[in-house]
């Protein structure tokens, strides 16, 4: 499960199992391969309205699998400028392709360098390997 192939190197990761893709002042956010696998079949995703201003670690939405309800946390601060509307009808996209079609939102980053406190792919892999053992 902590196989590094499942965690693209160009992304940043949070301890709450979200990923961040940085493009200039934009950050695309979703949940990691590990997170979607732990949740199982995802049947509902609730995302914020565009224009919502989020702080790092703030709850931005909810994801539900058949069995469980989990909060979604923003890894960094910024304003929501786009959400993945496709997840309303097809929440299973998060299971099918969590780093692609299963993305959740795009933020306009408000604090430069905040991403430096996030984990690299290698650090995130170590974190989940530790969790698997405990």
């Amino acid at each position: 499960m902590s196989n590094s192939d499942n965690f693209p190197k160009e992304l940043y990761y949070s301890k709450e199992d979200e990923w961040v893709r940085l493009t200039n002042d934009r950050a695309t956010i979703g949940i990691t391969f590990y997170a979607q696998e732990q949740l199982g079949d995802i049947v509902f995703v609730e995302l914020p309205e565009p224009g919502t201003v989020l702080s790092a670690k703030e709850t931005f939405g909810v994801i539900e699998s058949v069995k469980a309800v989990s909060d979604l946390f923003s890894p960094i601060s910024g304003e929501v400028i786009e959400i993945n509307e496709a997840l309303t009808e097809r929440p299973e996209l998060v299971n099918e392709n969590c780093y692609g079609d299963g993305w959740m939102l795009v933020l306009r980053i408000s604090e430069e360098k905040q991403h430096e406190s996030l984990l690299t792919a290698a650090e995130y892999c170590t974190l989940i390997a530790e969790r698997e053992q405990s």
Partner: protein, 371 residues
């Protein structure tokens, strides 16, 4: 019970990719691949569940029939040898101690299949309310598999079990699988045709593997407690601890068919008679969620801003592709088509009382099971 018990098949489940949860002190498979995929496999072909955490209590002797007649809401004396009946065991005020299936092995020999979390509580209650009856808890020596789905009969035929057409719903008989003795019962908790197989723990690996080897060509897959829950909810079967508790009666849960109200002679009868004539303050209903959101256990049910009840079970139905649930509401809101809201994270979501079972091809419980 101390620590966590493992089913004897723990290693087999693990190798099959199972993820485990602790349920009633047992570490049991919750899913192998995906709850939705396992759910569909059971509805479309067949799935096999290891439910060895369930409890079995033998009652035998000249007082067994009378004792059970007093303990259970279902009729006992009319139950033929080789037949199974569903019922409840109530306390003096009609609250539900457990819901059970009763098997008659011989004139003076029965066993009860009970919920895992209730085994010791049931034993105490049974021992203090029986006479001339030998009561033996055989839960730890007994494994239980549920083979469920439309292909189940073909799978059993493939391992040499014939004449299944003569084994009607809610009947059982003894079988031999690769030299292992087992009890085959045409029952289940999924709302589809299927069987439950009781056997000695010593034989469990061999029998599981035999069924599996024969079943693969029919699409048989192992299924976990996650799919068991979504399947039973589509069939609107109650789950003890959620729809049934010691504070709720079988009548409130809509289980009138399984209560011998007219004959009586069982513990809790007086209270249930009163409840039947005076009406219940709250009733269990099935509802479908009309808006976006999933109802979950304990979410409030509201009407005009006032709480009128609570959700006891809710899920996303893989068959219907929508959110369904069961919940207790004030009785005047229990009629079909009544509209109310489920409070999902402080947001009211529209819902409507609907017919159960939610999935219509789930067979209704047969006459044999009824009183």
């Amino acid at each position: 019970m101390t620590g966590t018990n493992q089913t004897t098949l723990f290693d087999i489940h693990k190798a099959a990719g199972a993820r485990f949860i602790t349920y009633a002190g047992f570490s049991m498979p919750v899913q192998y691949t995906s709850i939705i995929a396992e759910h569909r496999t059971v509805r479309e072909s067949a799935g096999i569940f290891d439910v060895s955490h369930m409890g079995q209590i033998n009652l035998s002797g000249p007082g067994a029939e009378n004792s059970l007649e007093q303990l259970l809401t279902c009729r006992v004396s009319s139950l033929p040898i080789g037949a199974v009946r569903y019922g409840c065991m109530c306390n003096k005020v009609g609250g539900t101690i457990d819901d059970i299936t009763l098997y008659r092995l011989e004139t003076d020999g029965f066993f009860l299949c009970v919920n895992a979390a209730n085994i010791s509580k049931n034993l105490k209650w049974i021992l203090s309310n029986t006479s001339n009856t030998k009561v033996v808890n055989v839960s730890l020596e007994t494994s239980l598999f549920a083979l469920q789905g439309p292909k189940s009969p073909q799978i059993l035929e493939a391992i040499g079990i014939s004449n299944l057409r003569n084994l009607k719903r809610f009947r059982f008989r003894t079988i031999s699988v690769g030299g292992c003795q087992a009890l085959l019962s045409r029952t289940g908790y999924t709302g589809t045709d299927g069987f439950e197989i009781y056997l000695s723990i010593a034989d469990s690996k061999k029998v599981w593997e035999t069924i599996f080897a024969a079943g693969e060509v029919f699409g048989l897959k192992p299924a976990g407690l996650g799919a068991r829950d979504t399947l039973r909810l589509e069939a609107a079967y109650p789950l003890y601890g959620q729809e049934l508790t010691e504070k709720l009666t079988p009548l409130q849960a809509g289980l009138h068919r399984f209560v011998k109200l007219e004959e009586g002679g069982f513990i809790g009868h007086k209270s249930l008679i009163e409840q039947a004539s005076e009406g219940n303050s709250k009733m269990l209903v099935g509802f479908q969620v009309e808006g976006r959101g999933i109802a979950r256990t304990n979410y409030p049910i509201i009407h005009n801003g006032r709480t009128i009840g609570h959700v006891t079970s809710g899920t996303f139905s893989p068959t219907l592709q929508r959110s369904i649930g069961l919940g207790y509401v004030e009785s005047r809101f229990a009629d079909l088509e009544t509209e109310f809201q489920v409070l999902v994270r402080n947001r009211p979501i529209e819902a409507k009382v609907c017919q159960t079972p939610f999935v219509r091809d789930a067979p209704k419980r047969s006459q044999e099971e009824q009183n």
